[in-house]
């Protein structure tokens, strides 16, 4: 009987090792260790043994069972691993095939540039103040020290509406007056973004509508040196920490002294190229100390208060940064252009 058991053990082990797949192994398991398997059948024969023989047989058959179980587990692990390897090997893919394209929305480049400007000025305590597009001549010009028929009006080609005295704003400067009226007598630090309009033929370089961001700081102790320092900080953050800036005298009716800020050309790094007309500099913004008449029109006494103002064009800045050679791209909204931002 024990010999029979030994034979069974040996045969089962041999068959186990012949199983080439987990499926064959399961079949083996059923045949050997299953409920009606050969080991079970052998167990049932214990009744034919004498009481003396039984303990030894019982011990032996348990050992056989144990060993076969262990051998099964081991074999199963081997086969599983081999089968998994084979499966993975057979299902390898060409990882260089293209990824599945996703629909993808983006913010318009003008919005992206505006946000960058908002963020930098926000860090310096300048908040966004917006005002209307359709304005009165009074707010757009007269309160800004630009009287009727003054030669300074040549600086703005204006769209007039059919309502006398109502125009499309040529700059966001009317917001300076609105902000001063709203905030007097608090000190002011605001930026004024918005769409502006000029009576101009649309070309690669000129648009009839464009964004502008003006800025206004009013307080009791603000100087031209503060203007220079603050705008230099802005330029360094917008265009790079090492970029040179220069200030030169200029004229705006609503500021005095007035200046223009140039930034070292972004394309040629100041060496001279077509974009900077070989000067090494590109004009970025106009600025100056708020004209006393404008302060007074805003309700602030120019003998007590002073301030500075500036204005820049986000599209122009974006054109320089992204080397956009035609301003018409902005409102053309060609998706092949927009998808690049």
């Amino acid at each position: 009987m024990l010999a029979q058991l030994d034979q069974l053990y040996a045969d089962s082990l041999a068959q186990l090792n012949q199983a080439e797949s987990t499926a064959e192994l399961e079949t083996w398991y059923k045949a050997a260790l299953g409920r009606k398997g050969s080991v079970y059948l052998m167990t049932r024969q214990v009744g034919q043994l004498s009481a003396e023989e039984r303990p030894a047989f019982g011990k032996r058959i348990n050992a056989v069972k144990q060993e076969l179980e262990t051998a099964y587990e081991q074999r199963l692990a081997e086969l599983r691993s081999a089968e998994l390897d084979a499966l993975m090997a057979s299902s390898a893919i060409d990882v260089t095939l293209p990824g599945r394209k996703q629909w993808h929305g983006r913010l318009h480049p003008a919005t992206q540039t505006l946000r960058e400007i908002y963020r930098i000025w926000g860090d310096m305590g300048f908040q966004v103040y917006r005002s209307r597009d359709v304005e009165t001549d009074e707010y757009n010009f007269e309160l800004l020290n630009i009287p009727q028929d003054h030669p300074a009006r040549d600086m703005w080609d204006t769209f007039h509406t059919t309502t006398p005295g109502v125009i499309l704003r040529t700059h966001t400067s009317p917001g300076q007056i609105h902000a001063m009226h709203e905030y007097y007598p608090e000190p002011i630090r605001v930026i004024l973004p918005g769409m502006c309009y000029r009576y101009e033929q649309v070309t690669a370089r000129a648009e009839l509508q464009f964004h502008q961001v003006e800025g206004l700081a009013v307080g009791k102790n603000i100087t031209m040196a503060d203007l220079k320092g603050t705008l230099t900080d802005f330029a360094r953050r917008m265009f790079g920490a090492h970029r040179q800036v220069r200030f030169r005298a200029n004229y705006f009716p609503f500021t005095e002294p007035s200046a223009e800020m140039d930034v070292e050309c972004i394309l040629c790094n100041g060496d001279g190229c077509n974009v900077c007309k070989y000067t090494g500099w590109v004009e970025i913004l106009g600025c100056g100390m708020v004209h006393p008449t404008v302060l007074r029109n805003g309700g602030y006494d120019p003998d007590v208060y002073s301030g500075f103002a500036f204005g820049m064009g986000p599209e122009r800045i974006a054109m320089l940064k992204y080397r956009i050679d035609d301003i018409r791209y902005f409102w053309g909204n060609d998706l092949r252009f927009l998808a690049q931002f």
Binding site: R100, Q102, W103, G105, R106, L107, H108, T111, G125, V128, Y129, R130, R132, D133, V134, T136, D149, P151, D154, F159, H160, T161, L168, Y183, P187, R189, Y197, Y199, E200, V202, L208, Q209, G219, K220, N221, I222, T223, M224, A225, D226, K228, G229, T230, D233, R246, F247, R248, A249, N250, Y251, E256, P257, S258, K277, M289, S306, N333, L335, R336, L338
Partner: protein, 844 residues
Amino acid sequence: MLVPISWLKEYVDIDMPVAELAEMLTIAGLEVEGIEYTGIPGGNDKNRLVWDREKIIVGHILKVEQHPNADRLVLATVDYGGEENEVTVTGAPNLFQYVGQGDISHLKLYSPFAMEGAVLYDGHKEGQVKATLKGRPLRGIHNRCMLCSEKELGLSDEHEGIMIFTDEQTPGTPIQDILGDAVISIDIIPNIARCASIVGVAREVAALTGQTVRYPNYDVVMEGPPVEGKVVITTENPDLNPRFTGMIISGVEQKPSPQWMQRRLQLAGQRPINVVVDISNYVMLEMGEPNHTFDYDFLRGRADAYSSPDGPIHIITRLPHEGEQVTTLDGELRDMPPTTILVTDPAGALSIGGIMGGETSEISDTTTNVLLEAASWNFINIRRSMSLLKMNSEAGFRFSRGVHPSQAVLGAKRAAELMRQLAGGTVWQGLIDYYPNPPQPVTLQLTAAEVQRIGGISPSQVEIKQMLESLEFTVEDKGDHLLVTAPDHRLDIEFTNDLVEEVCRMYGYDKLPSTEMSDTLPPQRANTRLEQEERLKDSLVQLGLQEIITYRLTTPEREGKLLPPETGITPDDRPYVTLANPITVDRVAMRHSLLAAALEIAAANSRFQEYIALFEVGYIYLASEDGDLPDELGRLSLVMTGPRQQVSWQDNGEILALDFFDLKGVIEAMLADLHIAELTVEAASHPTFRPGRTAKLLLNGNQLGLMGELHPLVVEGFDIRTERPVLAAELDLDLLLSQIPDGFHIEPVSNYPAVHEDLALVVDKDVSAAELAEQIQRAGGFLLKNVALFDIYEGKQIAAGKKSLAYHLTFQSPGKTLTDKDVSKNRQRIITQLQRQLGAQLRE
């Protein structure tokens, strides 16, 4: 303003390179927009001709002989300052007259002379083509040098003969030193009207370099009869014409002006005409006072008629009579606007004051006697007249920016003296000068403290005084302040800030310190509206839509395409904000809709792209009923069309098109992002949208806007090239943003298992999905966490007029594990309720 450096040097020394001068002027507010070099090195144009200093020099023509072998060539013997004279072959017709005259050195014929190896422009080729002069035989005579034409030097297109200097020169002098030049172009912005002259620029250079200007000589030698009683001047509007000065010059000889003057005028952008006209232009460019020349005899002739042969000429400046017309010297007959001031005599108009002369009184080739006018005009009125007349002139350019009346006499004297010197005229004694109300000079107080307060710099009072004096201000030190009087040419000085700017300019904008603001930081306020708009944009971008920004100017016709004529509905009749001066016919009015522009963009992109998903956040402009300014209202437009997903190499099945529910899903997700819960959607009809596929969106009972599938006629009208549905919406941005709650709370996430149940209900066809879902939610109670529709069926398996909707229901309790009994109780309640409310039957 074109400023030839050679001319500028007459009034001020310039020791620095031109590029450096340009930089200095630019920083000081005279923006140099370009530098044009002639013959000398400089600039970026590598192809430009630079005259070799050794090889292109002055030659003195000593003798001209016939070429032995050619009729049309001569041999010129030239002294070029070398050891021996050079004989050179030339075909210049302007030398033929000297053949056979022997020694002509006494005629002082000097010409540019090029030596072998010199680079010049080829005189025989079109345009400017460089060529190197090589020695070669010309009809048997070896020739290695050349007398040059203007074209060969690049001075003009003139190649008819060689260039002859009319002034005496020293043989061998480099041509660079005589004709070499650089012309800087200065942008005359409104506050530097004073720099619209060479002397004006010289003043700035002098101030910036610590020099004094060498002014032109304004003395006149007057040898003619007295002017007294010859001309009487009346100005009817002294406020528009503060001063009128006249001088008489007789016996002028009509001839070309001297070469140096012609050269200067050309470099400054003026065409030389004859000596009288050239002097008039020259004086204007030199010192900034435009002046005008009348034919004296023509005026005299008219005076004989309206007065008597002994009576004076009457010059009257006045506003035009009604309907008065003037023929200007460009031959145009022009209607005079009522505010335009005219120079007239009793017989009629002579010229448009300060802008342009009249044709009849203009000097001609036969003019010998000249009445010279130098006047002063109100700059605002000149500008208005120029814009009403749509006219431009050099005189108008200057007068419309402001020329001080004091300049009139100086201009008149300078021009008269030049006519005496250069045109052989005799200047009559005295000036006719009408100047009733000379303006007071502008005097301001300035302190060092004010310079510090505005300029942020601290020069001492003495330094400030020096800076202003260098600009010709008169400055009195009053101890605690300076009393500053502006010179006449500074019409831009009105306020102390103007003086601070002058101090900053002299200090140097590049040297101003850079500081951080030390002033109090203002109260910091959020711009909630802007932040909400930006959140909305971010949400839509995350949902896969592209932001667009379109033109806010459009035409009513373009927007009318939203309402196809076939529908018989006319557009919103609230008036447009319309331009009085549109620049193009397709941008005449401020928009009423964002959607029309978005559909135009969709149409343009549909030519090359199938998937289009766009949005715009912006404003529309509705003329106001009670005020001049329109209402500016916020709108959000959405447009989607195309395949629902991108074609991939992995797909082989058909890709579905975006439909109504894609757009609706975007709107729902956007609202969820903004934490707006209360959306109601109702079926609606509108001509822009396809009947049966149009919805009205409401937030808390207020209409948010319409959405739907675009009407096929609208798709066609906008020429959107797609076979797929085009989904669109235009929403009220102001309402939308107003519904964003100030804050929100989260719901705790339950740790107990959720139970999922499916439920299919059969209802009448006209019961809306929204109604059914709402009733299920209401009946399901607080344990019903989610109701998700997964199938709709109409057909044979159910009764006619009915439809079946199948839902996944999710039950979950925040506090316990639900039992089957809990769930079936809720489920039964839903069935019972819906049966009662909507007659719904459970589908078995």
